[in-house]
């Protein structure tokens, strides 16, 4: 990277003027973290800086860390750099990080979606000279249906399961997607949760995020007492011994990848719901345009294709190799967290 604001090292994105890294994947002295997903918030750093809203989950997941919170929009001076955090719309507490050095502004997007999901802090475009964008779904085949329509599909499926005496098992990543789904469910019946989902629920409730009542599944839970329940769990748990306690299940999975029939069928789920916390193709275009940036680095996703497209559109576009997830990465398709 030719810019003075950020350089790129084997530990991650680095700001020499402020001597800090953003979402580094190897231990560093000082890390600014966009959001709490495991591929962005890794253990072992000396000091962490994240939004107030992101910190509780990070503390829960990373254990004893030296961490400081910052409010959205608050400007902080670190060495020769001014930094501020702005909502990324990815999950509660998620942020894009704005870094300004000597009048030159760069934004690291982390993961983001541009549509307001009515649950987490909605995405705000930030003007900058250089933008580092994710492009998990950076192909023109990805165009999300409106959230309301997907919510209706999920609720209709749950009602149908109830009518047929089935248990609706809904797979979703335990931080972010699970809570967004909770916010979309009609109160049709009881909602049971896997421990991993419920841990995050508890933390977010304590922070003031509104979630419906849920019942954590424990070894003592009498499943038959909760007829017509919907069960929310990490998708990996759906295929495990844990899920065998639910008789006559119908399994659903909510992810952007469910837009593709091949992946939907390979997952072997009864139902796939197209719901993503990442920007779709139009969302990515819109976000990049709104930054006013001339230079764009594409990372995490279909980077080479996306950068080539941006170049053709007149941007000074590049691929940025990161360890957030390789191109075509299968983490999402195997129930990973970025879906």
């Amino acid at each position: 990277m030719k810019t003075d604001v950020l350089t790129f090292t084997d530990r991650g994105i680095y700001c020499p003027a402020g001597d800090f890294h953003v979402d580094p994947w190897r231990p560093v002295a000082r890390a600014l973290i966009t959001h709490g997903h495991a591929d962005h918030a890794r253990p072992g750093h000396g000091r962490y800086l994240a939004t107030h809203a992101a910190l509780p989950v990070m503390r829960h997941r990373l254990g004893e860390i030296t961490a400081e919170g910052i409010a959205y929009g608050e400007v902080r001076r670190i060495g020769g750099a001014s930094v501020s955090f702005h909502p990324a719309g990815h999950l509660p507490g998620s942020a894009q990080i704005r870094i300004e050095v000597g009048g030159e502004v760069w934004v690291v997007s982390g993961d983001y979606k541009t549509t307001d999901d009515g649950f987490c802090e909605p995405f705000e475009p930030v003007r900058c000279h250089g933008f580092i964008t994710e492009c998990t779904f950076g192909l023109p085949v990805f165009k999300w249906p409106p959230q309301a329509r997907v919510a209706e599909e999920i609720n209709a499926w749950w009602r149908q399961c109830r009518a047929e005496g089935k248990t609706a098992l809904l797979g979703a990543y335990s931080l972010g997607k699970a809570q967004r789904l909770l916010s979309l469910l009609d109160p049709v019946g009881p909602i049971l949760t896997h421990g991993a989902v419920e841990a995050t629920n508890g933390i977010l409730r304590a922070q003031g995020y509104a979630l419906p009542d849920t019942i954590r599944v424990t070894p003592d839970t009498a499943v038959k007492d909760h007829a017509g329940a919907l069960v929310l769990a990490p998708s990996a748990a759906l295929g495990s011994a844990w899920a065998r306690r639910f008789r006559n299940p119908s399994a659903g999975f909510a992810s952007g990848w469910m837009a593709l029939r091949g992946i939907r069928r390979r997952r072997g789920m009864d139902r796939g719901f197209v719901l993503s916390d990442h920007a779709d193709w139009p969302g990515l275009q819109e976000a990049i345009r709104a930054t006013g940036a001339e230079t764009v680095y594409a990372t995490h996703g279909y980077t080479e294709i996306f950068a080539r497209w941006l170049k053709a559109e007149g941007y000074d576009a590049h691929v940025l190799k990161t360890e957030f997830g390789e191109e075509e990465d299968g983490t999402e398709t195997t129930g990973g967290e970025a879906a």
Binding site: L139, P140, I263
Partner: protein, 529 residues
């Protein structure tokens, strides 16, 4: 089209046979006759021909979506299906319509002969009014590649459920060379005239693979054993002085095999044989000799001379114009033998011999000689069983030879399509040739989903070089490759080609150095080629 799309969605969302059958049966009860007929046609492989070639279609879709062609081309392998890629990249429809399935198929048929410039606006007009799932199906029809995970058997069962007729009767009605343009739902399904079509074949009876020892089948005297020939299963129909030849895939092969014309002169009308088509010159020739007889469009004098063909008949389904499938095999066999007893060689129909045996053990020894007889193994058929339709367990078993195997090193990997898009499933394997690894086969199947997941992650981390979609990977993993046959092939670097290669085991225990050599393969070629 909406009703058909709902049917497709219901079929696509489940793997449960009963749910699929119910959804189809509901469709057969509700849909208009014309649509029903087309639905039956589509599910029995009677797809309309493609209305536009894939290159033209891609260009049209990219243009309509407002994206450069290269971006479309990059998206396609990730989605894994052309029609789906198109349905996803197009802008949302500008108006709604609910024209029936038949309308769209007729539209496509009506433009098939027009110049490209006149076909384009018709396709664009359809895209403009169909939503994403409808577009996907419509575009599938456009590409001529309409295949849905519904077997003919399942479709027939649903039709039986909806009409109250029995499955076997319906299966017979659905055979033959009808299209929705030459018949109606009433004439094909409801009317009671199975003799209407002189060329109509009977549904083939299909055998299951024998998994256990044959002793479990009972005593040897209840069974007939034959060679399992390595050719093409076919039905030769002699009725009313004409002959018709059908493949098991229900392709009419009559014109490609003129040598059976004489059969209609010698053998009595009202005769239907079930047998195997083989390249034959006083004995079976290798399968490769038969291949050009199937693939080449024109049957030249030279081809007929180089690849003579015979049918090895092993069953008689119709005798004296009478359907005799209900008779036990031993009676059918008697009639078959007496029919062919004095048949001259120029009929090119021969009796597939029954292999005598009095103990399973001696039959096991016969089986081991199958490769020398150019057979794939044995067929076991219960002597008192009727000729059933479709794949039914119990009376017919194939007892194949164990496949040949080699241990080979994976050197290239490529992503799959459809259900396997985004997974690396297509691999190229190599054997040692001195210190070099020489590629000799590709294989796509045989691993579990979990193993494909694992190898996919490994391929991503261990790519050494890319050639378009193909990745050269570190030669580190050994797989056991099984195959049914081996033959010489000047087109391949290794000089050999395999039949039905597949992965049977991931040999994690085997270091790369211990993989087989090209010498080992050549030795197999000597013995079995």
């Amino acid at each position: 089209m909406k009703r058909f799309t709902r049917l497709f969605t219901a079929l696509d969302q489940t793997t449960k046979t009963k749910v699929k059958t119910d959804a189809l049966a509901a469709y057969f009860r509700e849909a208009p006759d014309e649509d029903k007929l087309w639905c039956i046609a589509l599910f029995s492989g009677r797809r309309p021909k493609r209305a536009i070639n894939a290159t033209e279609l891609r260009a049209l879709a990219a243009e309509c979506a407002g994206i450069p062609l290269w971006l479309f081309e990059e998206s396609y392998p990730i989605v894994g299906d052309l029609a789906e890629t198109i349905a996803l990249v197009l802008p949302p429809p500008v108006r709604a319509s609910d024209l029936p399935l038949t309308h769209w198929i007729r539209t496509l048929k009506s433009i098939a002969q027009l110049p490209l410039e006149q076909r384009k606006p018709v396709i664009l007009d359809a895209w403009e009014q169909l939503d994403t799932p409808q577009r996907f199906l419509f575009t599938k029809l456009v590409t001529g590649g309409f295949r849905i995970g519904v077997s003919r058997k399942l479709m027939t069962r649903a039709l039986a459920q909806a009409t109250g007729q029995d499955e076997a009767t319906l299966a017979l009605k659905l055979m033959g060379k009808w299209t929705p343009e030459t018949t109606s739902f009433h004439a094909l399904i409801e009317a009671d005239d199975p003799q209407a079509d002189l060329s109509r074949p009977y549904p083939f009876y299909l055998a299951y693979q024998l998994e256990d020892a044959p002793e479990a089948l009972g005593t040897p005297d209840e069974w007939q054993a034959e060679w399992k020939w390595d050719g093409i299963r076919g039905q030769l129909i002699l009725r009313d002085g004409q002959h018709h030849l059908w493949s098991r895939g229900e392709e009419l092969l009559t014109d490609r095999f003129p040598e059976f014309a004489a059969a209609a002169d010698f053998l009595p009308p009202g005769t239907v044989f079930d047998g195997e088509l083989l390249a034959w010159d006083d004995g079976p020739l290798r399968f490769a000799t038969l291949q050009p007889r199937i693939t080449r469009k024109s049957v030249t004098r030279k081809l007929l001379k180089d690849a003579p063909v015979a049918m090895l008949a092993y069953d008689l389904l119709e005798h004296g114009g009478e359907d005799i499938r209900h008779l036990p095999l031993k009676d059918r066999r008697e009639r078959l033998e007496s029919l062919l007893e004095n048949a001259p060689a120029y009929t090119n129909v021969r009796l597939s011999p029954a292999l005598p045996f009095d103990a399973w053990q001696s039959l096991a020894a016969t089986r081991l000689a199958a490769r020398e007889a150019r057979a794939e193994g044995l067929m076991l058929k219960r002597l008192d069983a009727p000729y059933l339709a479709g794949r039914k367990k119990g009376d017919w078993w194939k007892w194949k030879l164990d496949p040949l195997t080699v241990d080979a090193v994976m050197i290239y990997a490529q992503q799959g399509h459809g259900r396997r898009a985004n997974l690396f499933t297509d691999f190229t394997f190599a054997v040692w040739n001195g210190n070099e690894l020489t590629p000799f086969t590709k294989a796509y199947s045989g691993l579990t989903d979990k193993e494909f997941d694992e190898i996919t992650a490994w391929v991503r981390r261990n790519t050494q070089q890319r050639f378009g979609p193909v990745r050269q990977v570190k030669p580190e993993h050994v797989f056991e490759i099984a195959f049914e046959g081996i033959q010489e092939s000047p087109r391949h670097k290794s000089g050999i080609a395999l039949r039905f290669p597949r992965m049977v085991r991931w040999r994690r225990d085997k270091p790369v150095q211990e993989a087989n050599t090209l010498g080992d393969l050549r030795a197999m070629l000597e013995t079995f080629g």
